[in-house]
Subunit: 151 residues, 2 copies
């Protein structure tokens, strides 16, 4: 959950026999420069990079999103049915959780250090090397509760 520099990413990749590529560096920097609270899908990222004049193919994006999530650099979130979104994985002061409305997908981010600590303790006790810890709350937001439209 460290703040990755391109060279730190390269070192960690090489350590495992993988390679640094311009595409991987571009993806890392893009996520790091995103405003807080932004969650990108693979397709979103593909479009964004095209607009910025550094296009990367969709299959490469999918491959590297998964790779970086498994390295603990990115967090994989499912904030709406059927579309995975990613954000940079940050340590304690920025680390947050999500509260999601199952009807309109309105999402609220919140912080809770004691939850984070409880998660870390549990993972530790089981000998797991922790990559991500997210409290996921599903509910119905105030405006959807008032809405007449069912489900």
């Amino acid at each position: 959950m460290a703040a990755y520099t391109p060279s730190a990413l390269k070192a960690e990749l090489n350590e495992r026999g993988w390679r640094m590529t311009p595409q991987r560096e571009t993806m890392l920097k893009t996520f790091q420069n995103l405003p807080e609270g932004t969650h990108l899908s693979a397709e979103d990222l593909c479009e964004l990079l095209s607009q910025e004049g550094e296009p990367i193919s969709l299959s490469t994006i999918y491959r590297n999103l998964k790779l970086m999530a498994r390295m603990g650099i990115l967090r994989e979130l499912e904030l709406a049915e059927g579309q995975k979104r990613y954000e940079i994985n940050q340590p304690a002061p920025h680390h947050h959780h999500h509260l999601i409305c199952v009807r309109c997908n309105k999402t609220i981010e919140f912080k809770n250090d004691s939850v984070l600590k409880a998660g870390a303790k549990t993972a530790d006790r089981s000998g797991y090397h922790i990559l991500d810890c997210q409290l996921l709350i599903h509910g119905i937001c105030p405006s959807c509760q008032r809405s007449i439209v069912p489900i």
Copy 2:
């Protein structure tokens, strides 16, 4: 998060203009009778019901799993990439969270009331009607840490 009886389910459905059906009752009872720690995918449930002599079509199962999850009767979990699983949503003494290995998908269930309370408090403060609260921890299990096979 109550222990649903078929008639309670019927009452809640009717209240919203929906209907009780034999298929919905069968699905509810099946989940209630499952041993703790069992997570079924749509396909799993379809096969199980066929074996038990009360087959329900796969599309109906998908429809009702989603419906019951949105009512707060079932919890929707993604314990492995690309396959959603469901379990009955139980209140405090049985309520639990999941610790998952991203490599082998080995899953450990654990309980933590303070996390549950923190979640309820957060939802309440935002005016959300809470349906489910799950702490999801991704990591690498001890045996995969020792494994030579990367990622």
